[in-house]
């Protein structure tokens, strides 16, 4: 590994280039998009060379001594979104720019750039800004992302929330935390992402696999969490947000402090802590649903235009109680629980977290270096290290009562290099290579057979993304990525299971040792995956665009899909992976039409996704064990066709009143079985109206309505033999709960405490009407209602 990093550094040094004659001039004006006024003090920087100009009071700028060819300019202004623009320079030119104001940034805070750039040319994208993040700082990543049309979550209770993009979740959704692809055992339905959303500045979501630079297997999409840009100004600033939460009787606090030096250096520290006790449904306490979480991150670096580096360490620790009533001993318990209207265990409120519970921590360290070479482009090197430890505590007997049932340690090293080549005429190219080593160690001291075996995994990938700026309006893109994975596992199989699955005939060579009841085996796999994307963007202006994109993506099976074997208590089922599972292949066509008029705007985004050899987990039978009968869920591969539509619109009815409307729907079909697919989100719409009075300390009042329709297309229920009832009983596990509607309220007001200090207080009420509801995508819907009314009081201090 060390040699690898060294080699990459060597490579970075080897590549140098020389210039040509540079005497061209670029000039023009910068205007405010909203009122067409000229902006004074806007900076126009040629990204590759660090040449820059500042606009005068007439918004005029002039850059001289530029080289011919394609250049990238960054236009920035205090309190405006930074704009990045490619310009083809052949002769002396005039170019005018329009900048858009931030919705919320105040003029006092001159240091944070909130620019969220597109990650792809033609893919469907959406973003969450700092202010969105702050409003939701009491929630988890899933809660925040739900504000985007087309994003839903797969939940286990209220605290474990996995984001799903266009109905796909888990290993099909990549999460990039500050440039690092999270390796946090995303394969489990009840494994929430181990990231602290309070530690990032903005989030960009790519719906689909078109962002090949992050990975080729993002069949669902990519969630890119980034830090905000640092301005080159000598300052010290920070913010603290405190939330008090009634439902769960707790709260959280998060603080960030940033020091920026004039010479491009910066240091940034962030910490957060959250504590909630048992949460409550409208009619009862959800016993053992408390959560305790803390995160810490530290980074420093130097961000020049020509070169820079960044070193970062972050730690995230979470302990989550699992609803006591959802811990199940056998299929008869499950029948009992499903038939009962209220949870079978309701205790008094407590802040304590008891078994069953999860305790997870995640370390992340990153080193990044970039340098721009005049005739080559920008080269970026990155090494990152992640250590994820997950402990799951069940209810156990005797001396094992305090022992974890699952104790997995996943270590990942990744090194990567990517190059943004300088433009060749109208072409620009981004290339990269990546190598990754991963090791999973399940601690045998659990005294429970390993859910996921010991394994080592080696990945290598390379990609190229080519963009062609046909003219001012049209941009075409094409990308290609190849990924190789090798898995080498050591796994114990119960001998009878090995034989029942037919592995003894097919994989007999993998048996290392016969221990009587169990076999030690050494499964090895190689996967070669290819991903490509091709698309076009037509953008007659900055505020109007039409995009079409086709992406082909392949995903290798994850360890759970290959190796699962055994009783999963939290789901009351036996889950069986399959060593024969191959990669799945997705073909997705996505179109997006966006327009921002002066007073209203919309985004209309239909898509069609066909997935070959889609890997899914579904009921396949029943097995009898000494604990009773259990439904068996097996991983199977089938073909899937999905069609969906995301729509979002907004309107500014006056300077004070604004409405927002989101709608999304997705239809999925198992084309082999010609039937519905499990866990597909139902149609839903969110509508909100907000009223803002700027004169009155930026007072903002907002009411939003959240309507989630019933999922009518679910697979059939399964029937199992109940030993107690001595007959086949229909297990009502697929029927979806009814349509529900929630009303939420929020208000916000800002106070200027001093020149540099500003206090924002927010008051929010979620589920105002205290509606009892259950959600189809919550795995605990069999056992209990979802959360009741919740009051939140937030204080935010910027200093």
């Amino acid at each position: 590994m060390r040699t690898l990093v060294f080699t990459i550094f060597l490579l970075g040094i080897v590549i140098v280039g020389y210039g040509q004659q540079c005497s061209l001039t670029l000039q023009g004006t910068v205007k405010d998009f909203h009122d067409n006024s000229y902006l004074e003090g806007a900076t126009i920087v040629v990204v590759a060379t660090n040449q820059y100009a500042v606009t005068d009071k007439n918004g005029f700028y002039k850059l001289e001594n530029l080289c011919p060819g394609s250049i990238e300019v960054e236009i920035s202004h205090i309190s405006c979104n930074t704009l990045l623009q490619e310009i083809e320079l052949v002769e002396d030119s005039t170019k005018n720019f329009n900048l858009e104001h931030h919705f919320e940034e105040l003029k006092e805070v001159k240091v944070i750039g909130d620019a969220v750039h597109d990650k792809t040319n033609s893919g469907q994208e959406a973003s969450i800004t700092t202010s969105n993040l702050e409003e939701n700082s009491a929630g988890n990543l899933g809660d925040i992302l739900k504000n985007i049309s087309g994003i839903t979550t797969l939940n286990t209770g209220a605290t474990i929330s996995k984001p799903a993009i266009h109905g796909l979740n888990g290993s099909r959704v990549l999460i990039l935390n500050d440039g690092v692809r999270m390796q946090d055992m995303e394969w489990g339905d009840e494994h929430a992402p181990n990231v602290d959303p309070n530690s990032v500045g903005n989030i960009r979501i790519i719906k689909g696999a078109s962002a090949l630079q992050y990975g080729g297997d993002a069949i669902g999409g990519v969630i890119v969490m980034d830090q905000n840009n640092y301005f080159n100004k000598d300052t010290l600033y920070g913010k603290t947000i405190v939330n008090g939460i009634t439902n769960g009787r707790g709260g959280n606090i998060t603080s960030t402090l940033t020091k920026v030096f004039e010479n491009h250096w910066h240091i940034n520290v962030n910490g957060s802590y959250k504590k909630l006790g048992d949460q409550e449904a409208p009619d009862y306490i959800l016993s053992n649903t408390g959560v305790q979480e803390y995160g810490l991150s530290f980074d420093f670096g130097k961000h020049g235009y020509k070169q820079g580096f960044n070193a970062k360490y972050s730690y995230f620790n979470t302990e989550i109680g699992i609803l006591r009533a959802s811990h199940i001993g056998s299929v008869d318990d499950l029948i009992l629980a499903i038939n009962s209207d209220t949870p079978l265990v309701i205790n008094d409120f407590t802040h304590d977290i008891n078994n069953p519970r999860q305790k997870v921590n995640h370390h992340l360290a990153k080193l990044e270096y970039y340098k721009r070479f005049k005739n080559l482009g920008k080269i970026r090197l990155q090494y990152d290290f992640q250590l994820n430890n997950r402990k799951e505590f069940d209810i156990r007997r005797g001396e094992n009562a305090d022992r974890a049932s699952v104790d997995l340690e996943l270590t990942t090293h990744t090194a990567g290099l990517d190059i943004e080549w300088i433009n060749w005429g109208k072409f620009s190219l981004q290339s990269g290579v990546m190598g990754r080593y991963q090791k999973n160690f399940p601690d045998p001291s659990t005294q429970v057979r390993r859910l996921i075996p010991d394994y080592k995994k080696y990945d290598a990938g390379l990609f190229n993304i080519l963009t062609y700026n046909a003219n001012d309006n049209w941009t075409l893109d094409a990308g290609f990525r190849y990924d190789f994975s090798h898995i080498d596992a050591d796994k114990f199989y119960i001998t009878t299971r090995w034989e029942q699955q037919g592995y003894d005939e097919e994989f007999g060579d993998w048996v290392v040792e016969d221990l009587g009841n169990q076999l030690l085996t050494n499964p090895k796999f190689d996967f070669h995956n290819i991903s490509t994307t091709i698309g076009a963007k037509y953008a007659p202006s900055n505020f109007d665009s039409f995009k079409v994109n086709y992406a082909l993506a392949q995903r290798a099976p994850n360890p759970s899909e290959l190796f699962s074997d055994g009783l999963h208590h939290s789901a009351s089922r036996i889950e069986l992976g399959d060593l024969r599972i191959k990669s799945e292949t997705s073909h997705k066509i996505a179109i997006s039409k966006e327009h921002d008029y002066n007073h209203w705007g919309y985004a209309f985004e239909p898509y069609y996704n066909f997935i070959n050899d889609f890997i899914l987990l579904e009921p396949s039978g029943v097995e009898f064990t000494t604990r009773g009968a259990f439904p068996v869920w097996s991983y199977r591969q089938t073909n899937l066709s999905m069609f969906g539509l995301d729509v979002s619109t907004y309107a500014n009815w006056s300077s004070k009143i604004r409405t927002n409307h989101l709608f999304s729907i997705v239809k999925a079909k198992d084309t082999q079985k010609d039937g519905p697919v499990v866990n597909i989100p139902s149609a839903r719409t969110t509508n909100s109206i907000s009223y803002k009075i700027e004169q009155l300390n930026n007072l903002e009042l907002k009411i939003s309505s959240n309507l989630v329709f019933r999922q009518n297309e679910t697979p059939e229920n399964i029937s199992v033999y109940s030993p107690r009832q001595d007959q086949e009983v229909e297990l009502d596990i697929n029927t979806a709960p009814d349509t529900y509607h929630l009303l939420n309220f929020s208000s916000k007001i800002q106070f200027k405490l001093s020149d540099k200090t500003r206090l924002t207080t927010s008051f929010m009420v979620n589920n105002i009407l205290d509606t009892s509801y259950r959600d189809y995508l919550n795995r605990q819907r069999y056992f209990a209602d979802d959360l009741g009314r919740n009051f939140l009081l937030q204080l935010k201090l910027n200093y």
């Binding site: 199940i328 290099l417 290579v433 399940p442 429970v448 080696y458 190789f484 000494t626």
Partner: protein, 183 residues
């Protein structure tokens, strides 16, 4: 082009470096908590043949179903029953009965009868005086088919009404015996 060459060298270097890792064998786990076996000794009151019921599932959570043996019982007879619970998946079988006795307040055996059985009554109790269920009496009726289901509950609600629903907790072990009550 030189760069491309470099990159391919780099990728292969990474690959070979990574593959040279050593390979250590993980240790096997034999779950202590697995319950494989329930043996019931049924002694008729006033003398007669002692009958043994067994339910054994040596592969635990593996695919094979439990093997059940339940010979005929005599009609109109009261049997004194004692239960033995074992983990026989290990080389030296472990007696789980002892563990249950030690944690008697956290355990309970629940009985359900059907067919030609008159009653089942738990005769032992835990430290709080609530029923435990390792000992019981079973009264048969006249000839016919009969069924006896026994569930071992962990952390049941105590005291309770002795039914599966009423006792709550987790079901750790299920044994179902279908047999004949002979004349």
């Amino acid at each position: 082009m030189k760069t491309i060459k470099f990159l391919s060298v780099l990728a292969s270097t990474a690959f070979f470096l990574a593959c040279s890792d050593d390979n250590d064998t993980p240790e096997v786990i034999n779950e202590e908590e697995t319950i494989t076996t329930m043996n019931i000794t049924l002694t008729p009151e006033g003398g007669g043949d002692v009958i043994t019921f067994t339910s054994v599932d040596l592969d635990g959570d593996g695919p094979n179903p439990p093997v059940v043996s339940a010979p005929n019982l005599a009609g109109n007879t009261t049997y004194m029953g004692t239960i033995e619970i074992l983990n026989e998946s290990e080389e030296e079988p472990e007696d789980i009965t002892e563990e249950i006795k030690e944690e008697d307040e956290e355990h309970q055996l629940i009985y359900e009868i059907g067919g030609a059985l008159d009653s089942v009554t738990v005769t032992d109790s835990d430290g709080n005086g609530d029923p435990l269920g390792l000992e019981f009496t079973l009264v048969t009726l006249t000839a016919g088919e009969a069924s006896l289901n026994i569930y071992l509950k962990h952390e049941p609600t105590k005291p309770n009404n002795g039914t599966f629903e009423g006792s709550g907790g987790e079901n750790e072990f299920t044994a179902e015996f279908d047999f004949i009550v002979a004349d």
